[in-house]
């Protein structure tokens, strides 16, 4: 009798849980599962988005086979990896330095946090337009500043060798504040006791940083690194607005090339095959990243 009652109660709990989850599941199905499978379906077809979908021609693996003979795909894929690699190396260092400064400052600490966080909440298009002006080789204030210092003006976004580093500066400027706040939260969580004990043992600042701060920040760093990789793989707006991938694809990334292929050349099939490749890359990269970090963490624990 009691068993029967428990079962009925459990069943009604399950029903209620499903009912509450329905909106989220529906959202997930419509905005994630459907686009994912639709992209996969399109990657095996030829479709220009103007003809009815039923007329899309099935072409097997042709879209994928043609990708690596497309020099623009190879170039944008390589650029994407350069952006991800550079951001993974530079962003955590800059963010951690900012976080340490934010933690140590006694002068208007909240104001400094707000200032560094502002780029995160500013419209990406608006700030990209401002950066476009800053980098302009003819009228931009950056070259005027260099000239005032007696240095030669640079081509910045209009020079093929400098356009990618210029965009990288924007990405670092835009993201550093966000990751600094995450690091700051991690720093706040480290008890003062450890530092006091280290001080009593005669440890200097660098030793405390290496032996206390960095190990305690490991979970934060893991999260930061995964987020940087995922966000950089998907970078689009600043590049679209500032250089549109130019000059000559020197700053172009796979995300933007997918967009151009789909909406300018109306090749939804080819664009979808590139999106599938990007999806697989992001997933594999993140999984490998997490596995390496876990292995390192386990090694240290042992």
């Amino acid at each position: 009798m009691v068993n029967c009652k428990r079962k009925s109660l459990e069943s009604s709990y399950t029903k209620a849980a499903l009912l509450f989850l329905t909106p989220s599941l529906a959202f997930f199905a419509v905005f994630f599962v459907f686009p994912l499978f639709f992209t996969l379906y399109l990657s095996f077809h030829e479709w220009d988005m103007l003809s009815p979908l039923g007329e899309a021609k099935g072409i097997g693996l042709s879209n994928f086979a043609g990708l690596f003979s497309d020099s623009r795909f190879v170039k944008t894929l390589l650029n994407t990896f350069i952006y991800v690699g550079s951001n993974l190396v530079l962003m955590p260092v800059i963010a951690l330095v900012i976080a340490l400064l934010l933690k140590s400052t006694k002068f208007l600490p909240r104001l400094w946090r707000l200032i560094f966080f502002l780029p995160v909440v500013t419209s990406v298009v608006a700030m990209s337009l401002v950066w476009q002006y800053i980098f302009d080789p003819t009228f931009g204030p950056l070259n005027e500043f260099l000239k005032a210092l007696g240095l030669p003006p640079q081509g910045w976004t209009m020079a093929p060798s400098q356009s990618l580093p210029s965009i990288l500066i924007v990405l670092l400027w835009q993201g550093a504040g966000y990751y600094a706040i995450i690091y700051l939260a991690g720093l706040m969580g480290i008890s003062r006791d450890y530092y006091e004990a280290a001080e009593l043992d005669g440890a200097n600042g660098w030793q405390s940083f290496r032996s206390i701060t960095l190990p305690f920040l490991r979970p934060t760093t893991e999260f930061v690194l995964v987020m940087i990789a995922v966000n950089t793989f998907q970078v689009f707006t600043p590049i679209f607005v500032i250089t549109n991938g130019g000059p000559v694809d020197s700053s172009n990334v796979l995300g933007l090339y997918i967009y151009q292929t789909a909406f300018e050349f109306l090749k939804m099939g080819k664009a979808s095959s590139m999106a599938v490749v990007l999806f697989v890359l992001v997933m594999s990269f993140s999984v490998i990243q997490i596995k390496i970090m876990r292995r390192n963490a386990n090694g240290q624990d042992e």
Binding site: S51, T138, P152, M158, N244, P247, V248, L266
Partner: protein, 431 residues
């Protein structure tokens, strides 16, 4: 009792339906137009909308505008729904894709007849596919050399270059450098915008006797002596510093650094379309008096200046439920207001310095079209060739753009760039 209850239920259900039907009767038909005009031109167009709405109480017209770079994307995405705009303002190069995808409808009998009798044969061809007319042609755009008279006078050059030899020599004289940097370029180019790169280059190619594609539009024709000379011309100007690629950027709205540099007198010459006249006037103010136009300089193997031209048209969405009303509005917009007068569309185009394509509009605006800036363009139309209308046009243009830019930014040798462009474009045309 049961019958009474059933009657009440039925009445309750029927009332909202009756109410909705009554409301629907008075509801005006709304026609939505999708275009790429800027705010100034859109607000000028609103006057015609108000006039039409006053004459047709049951019709409302809504204008939807996006930047040029976004227009085709908006058309293709809105085409997926049955609730898209009723009228698309489109670039003729997009016709093969839009007709192939059945996105736009051919003009019905009476409207097709109206178009046939009101426009020149080559213009009707530019809005037709497979013998069917797909809309009302609006403007004609062609390219000419724009130059700054003040800079020419300062450099002691009395007139614009007529051929490439003069172009190179004048461009060098007009180039100024400071601290190793070019501060005034003799000849400006555009980068970052496909048509802005390709159209001037093809105009120079044609003025050297070359062709972009073969007559049947199935193969590349530019990789010959004329093409090699045209790309070599860019290289010569680049190596002498007369072209400074850093002054060439364009943005999604097809304005940007290349235009600012010309307006500020940092670029002495540039090959550009007639539609930028109103922008130059409003930005340059008094300095606009320094702007003059001249035919495209003729190449060593050319015998006449031959720019490219393209047209735009209003087409009706094949999924629109208001197709008849949309065609009626387009006919009204493009018909002369009175005998011998310009159409509303023609008058609106002329205010922006754009050449209307309707024969009666060109006659009615003959005096304006003969102003020194516009006359060069109008005269050039006689020998201008239409930009090829082929499937994959956007990708073909972008492919040539990338290769020309590769030369301008020192990323490729001129002939290698042409070989690469030929190979890639032939592949696109072969599909």
């Amino acid at each position: 009792m049961k019958k009474k209850a059933r009657a009440i239920i039925l009445l309750t259900m029927a009332l909202p339906l009756l109410f909705m039907t009554a409301c629907g009767k008075g509801k005006p038909t709304t026609i939505r137009i999708l275009t790429h005009w800027d705010a100034t031109n859109s607000s000028a167009f609103q006057a015609y909308i108000a006039e039409y709405e006053a004459q047709n109480k049951n019709v409302k017209i809504e204008l939807q505008t996006v930047p040029f770079g976004e227009l085709m994307k908006k058309i293709s995405t809105s085409g997926l729904s049955s609730d898209g705009p009723d009228i698309y303002h489109i670039y003729s190069a997009w016709l093969p894709e839009l007709v192939g995808g059945k996105t736009i409808a051919p003009a019905p009998g009476d409207f097709a007849k109206d178009i046939q009798q009101a426009y020149a044969a080559n213009i009707i061809d530019s809005v037709s596919v497979g013998g069917s007319i797909y809309g009302y042609p609006t403007e004609l755009t062609t390219y000419a050399l724009n130059y700054n008279k003040k800079l020419f006078a300062k450099a002691g050059i009395p007139e614009p270059p007529k051929n490439w030899q003069e172009l190179i020599s004048d461009a060098k004289k007009l180039t100024l450098k400071s601290g190793g940097k070019v501060t005034q370029q003799g000849f400006g180019v555009i980068t970052g915008w496909d048509s802005g790169v390709v159209h001037p280059w093809v105009s120079l190619l044609q003025s050297d006797g070359g062709k972009f594609l073969t007559g049947d539009g199935k193969k590349v024709a530019f990789n010959d002596a004329a093409g090699q000379e045209t790309i070599a011309l860019y290289k010569t100007l680049l190596d002498s510093g007369a072209i400074n690629p850093e002054m060439s950027p364009s943005n999604a709205s097809t304005t940007g650094g290349y235009q600012n540099n010309f307006e500020l007198g940092h670029t002495a010459m540039i090959i550009m379309a007639n539609w930028w006249k109103s922008s130059l006037q409003s930005t340059m103010k008094d300095a606009y008096a320094d702007v003059a136009t001249a035919p495209i300089p003729i190449g060593p193997h050319g015998d006449k200046s031959s720019a490219i031209f393209y047209s735009w048209l209003y087409s009706v969405n094949s999924k629109s439920k208001q197709q008849a009303e949309a065609w009626k509005f387009l006919e009204w917009l493009n018909s002369p207001k009175a005998d011998g007068e310009s159409s509303r569309q023609g008058a609106w185009l002329m205010n922006q310095g754009i050449i209307p394509s309707r024969t009666s509009d060109q006659k009615a605006n003959a005096s304006t079209l003969s102003d020194p800036f516009m006359k060069t363009y109008v005269d050039l139309l006689a020998d201008a060739k239409p930009f090829p209308i082929v499937r994959g046009g956007a990708e073909i243009t972008a492919t040539l753009q990338k290769q020309v830019e590769a030369v301008l930014f020192g990323q490729a040798k001129p002939n290698d760039a042409l070989d690469s462009a030929e190979k890639q474009i032939n592949e696109i045309l072969g599909k």
